[in-house]
């Protein structure tokens, strides 16, 4: 009922999304780390990653979200906790709230590499944004399931009552299936 049969899915969309997902994930990570000195950052990166999740949901239905097996609430909590901790950390050192520490490395071959603690803050934001979007999706999926269950129950009631039109009138059951 909730679209697990896959008959109404567009194969073109599904294949495109399959190809697009790794690109989106890579781009989202690129955006997040780029954000320190250039347009981008955790929020934009998180949105791109969330877009990948939404696309998969559109292409292959609620299973795409369920199969991730991550509780979005944990993502929200972990992201917020990480951002809050990174922000507070410098206070212990006598610095200011949200002050960024910078570490420079010189690994062989690549040249200079700069790590900043504010990247951790961006990662927290990234995780948080993905979690929020997933939480919204999950809420929709659950609402969808509920509608589908309600429709099924109504159908059953009607067929038990002996009505003739109970034999699968598609008009009454579309709300769950067509996303």
């Amino acid at each position: 009922m909730s679209g697990t049969d896959g008959t109404r899915r567009s194969m073109i969309l599904a294949e495109t999304v399959n190809g697009l997902t790794p690109v989106l994930l890579a781009f989202s990570i690129f955006l997040t780390f780029r954000g320190h000195n250039a347009p981008g950052g955790g929020f934009a990166g998180g949105l791109v990653m969330a877009a990948a999740v939404i696309l998969r949901y559109l292409a292959s239905g609620p299973e795409a979200v369920r199969s991730l097996r991550i509780d979005p609430i944990v993502l929200i909590g972990a992201g917020l906790a990480l951002a809050a901790l990174v922000g507070t950390w410098p206070l212990l050192d006598g610095g200011e709230f949200l002050e960024s520490s910078i570490w420079k490395f010189h690994p062989p071959l690549i040249g200079e590499m700069k790590l900043v603690s504010s990247s951790l803050f961006d990662i927290g934001v990234h995780v948080l944004v993905v979690g929020v979007v997933m939480a919204v999706l999950v809420a929709f999926v659950e609402a969808d399931d509920e509608v589908a269950r309600a429709n099924a129950a109504r159908e059953e009631l009607r067929s038990n009552a002996g009505h003739d039109d109970a034999s699968g009138d598609p008009g009454t059951t579309t709300s769950g299936g067509e996303r």
């Binding site: 609430i73 944990v74 929200i76 909590g77 972990a78 992201g79 917020l80 906790a81 809050a84 901790l85 922000g87 507070t88 410098p90 206070l91 610095g95 200011e96 709230f97 949200l98 002050e99 960024s100």
Partner: protein, 490 residues
């Protein structure tokens, strides 16, 4: 001690994260929320003491220079509001825990409540207009969740009005903020006074009006108040107690900030008329209602009128009176909603038709209602009298006879509608079976919290002298933009 300022925001926010991670274990959530709220309240007190002895504190985020950085600024007014806000949040939290109602047991209650406290702290400490907007959003988002926790039909219905109106308010506010930035090139509240003063009159009045509309909607000022008596009564009692006590007053705080700091030279006759209308219409609304929560909600509107009246009169003395009025009003209003919560929990209803004889059933409960109720109406020697006296004296000094007359008349009408609750719910023969065990003893935690808050309102009356002098110092800070500027961008 400036490191305390961000902590007042980040501790509840971090607590919200922890409460989300512990979403399946309610007892852990409860401990986290109580611990974070207690800590925030202690931090607020520390900030208050520090600011009073050492002057305005500024924390620039990320160690950037204050002209560039996001600043958190605590002057006496913000520190005082922060303290009273954190105290009320703690009291209402304990009440909710003691109530053991479904709303506190919802797994979203604790994270949303902590996010709300972070928003409240942030709104009081924000040193620029944009972050004021951001923290308004934080507390609004959390309030949407808290208002519709049970998901009942009536909550969703009134929640929809609340959300739509507040989204419109945010839109107006962010437009105003964007236009201020376009006109002046800064949003830092320390730099704005000078640059706004250099603008042409028309532009400045336009900007002022946009910000006033946005904050006025938040503060439930006439004619933008109709959402309040509609949505607050639908919320669970502990939630409506904190909304009623605190949230509208954050709107008033923002109005005080913008009117004194950003637009000190403005003709406020219109605002004064609006204040009068807010008082009158609020109290008439209260008289017409028949459910306790709705009467109390309309009273919020009418009381906001007194505060706006003080702001509109202007000058250090008026602002001092408003600050004292807010400090008195927040615990008084909260305690009235808490008493209502006890009644509703005990009898299952707070509609006056169904209640009767509560005074005979529980004398102490009646006293707990009567003290803040009389205080709200402005009966001496309670705190409300001192608050009203302050505002009215300023009105007389400035010769605004008509607003003083309105204020006094509204005060009597407030008393009338309080008497309506008194005769409806407390007087007469007890309805139903008379269990002698006492209403208060049945709900020990709820009662002790309510008693503590009522005691606080009495303490405000007893220590009115020192408090009023503090309010005067705070008002002196607020009404001299140069002092604020000097503290933030020396």
């Amino acid at each position: 001690m400036t490191e305390l300022l961000p902590l007042a925001i980040v501790i509840p926010l971090g607590g919200a994260a922890a409460a989300l991670l512990a979403i399946r274990v309610r007892s852990v959530q409860r401990i986290i929320t109580i611990a974070c709220t207690v800590t925030t309240a202690l931090i607020a007190v520390a900030i208050l003491l520090d600011v009073d002895s050492n002057g305005t504190q500024v924390a620039s985020m990320g160690g950037w220079p204050p002209r560039i950085a996001i600043n958190l600024v605590a002057d006496r007014l913000s520190a005082l509001m922060l303290t009273i806000g954190a105290t009320m949040l703690l009291a209402v939290l304990l009440f909710a825990v003691g109530q053991r109602a479904d709303d506190e047991r919802s797994r979203w209650y604790h994270p949303a409540y902590l996010a709300l406290s972070a928003g409240v702290s942030g709104a009081f400490l924000a040193g620029d207009l944009f972050n004021l907007f951001v923290f308004f959003e934080v507390l609004l988002m959390s309030s949407y969740v808290l208002l519709t926790l049970e998901g009942s039909d009536s909550q969703i219905r009134s929640g929809t009005t609340y959300v739509v109106l507040n989204v419109v308010e945010s839109l107006v506010l962010v437009t105003g903020v964007a236009l201020v930035f376009a006109a002046t090139g800064t949003l830092n509240m320390a730099e704005l006074p000078e640059r706004l003063a250099a603008l042409p009159d028309g532009v400045r009045i336009g900007l002022n009006l946009l910000l006033l509309i946005a904050f006025g909607l938040k503060a439930a000022v006439f004619p933008l108040f109709s959402w309040l008596p509609d949505s607050y009564p639908a919320a669970p009692s502990p939630v409506s107690a904190v909304f009623a006590g605190l949230l509208t007053k954050i709107g008033v705080y923002a109005i005080i900030r913008t009117q004194t700091l950003l637009f000190p030279e403005t003709n406020r006759t219109l605002l004064l008329v609006i204040a009068g209308l807010t008082m009158v219409i609020g109290v008439f609304g209260a008289i017409a209602q028949n459910a306790m929560k709705r009467i109390l909600s309309f009273h919020i509107v009418s009381q906001i009128g007194y505060m706006i009246m003080g702001v509109a009169l202007g000058g250090t003395a008026a602002i001092a009176a408003v600050i004292f009025y807010m400090i008195h009003h927040i615990p008084v209003k909260t305690s009235l909603f808490l008493v209502e919560g006890i009644i509703e929990r005990d009898t299952g209803s707070s509609t006056l038709d169904r209640l009767s004889g509560l005074a005979r059933r529980s004398g102490p409960l009646a006293a707990l209602f009567l003290l803040p109720a009389l205080s709200l109406a402005g009966i001496p020697p309670l705190s409300g009298f001192i608050g009203k006296l302050g505002v009215v004296t300023v009105g007389l000094d400035q010769g605004s006879w008509w607003i003083v007359a309105t204020a006094l008349a509204v005060s009597i009408l407030t008393l009338v509608s309080m008497l309506k609750i008194w005769t409806g719910a407390f007087w007469g023969e007890p309805a139903g079976p008379d269990h002698d065990s006492g209403v208060l003893r049945n709900h020990p935690l709820m009662s002790s919290v309510t008693i503590a808050v009522v005691a606080l309102t009495v303490a405000i009356a007893v220590f009115a002298g020192p408090l009023y002098r503090f309010a005067e110092r705070a008002a002196a800070d607020v009404t001299t933009p140069a002092a604020y500027e000097g503290a933030v961008v020396p």
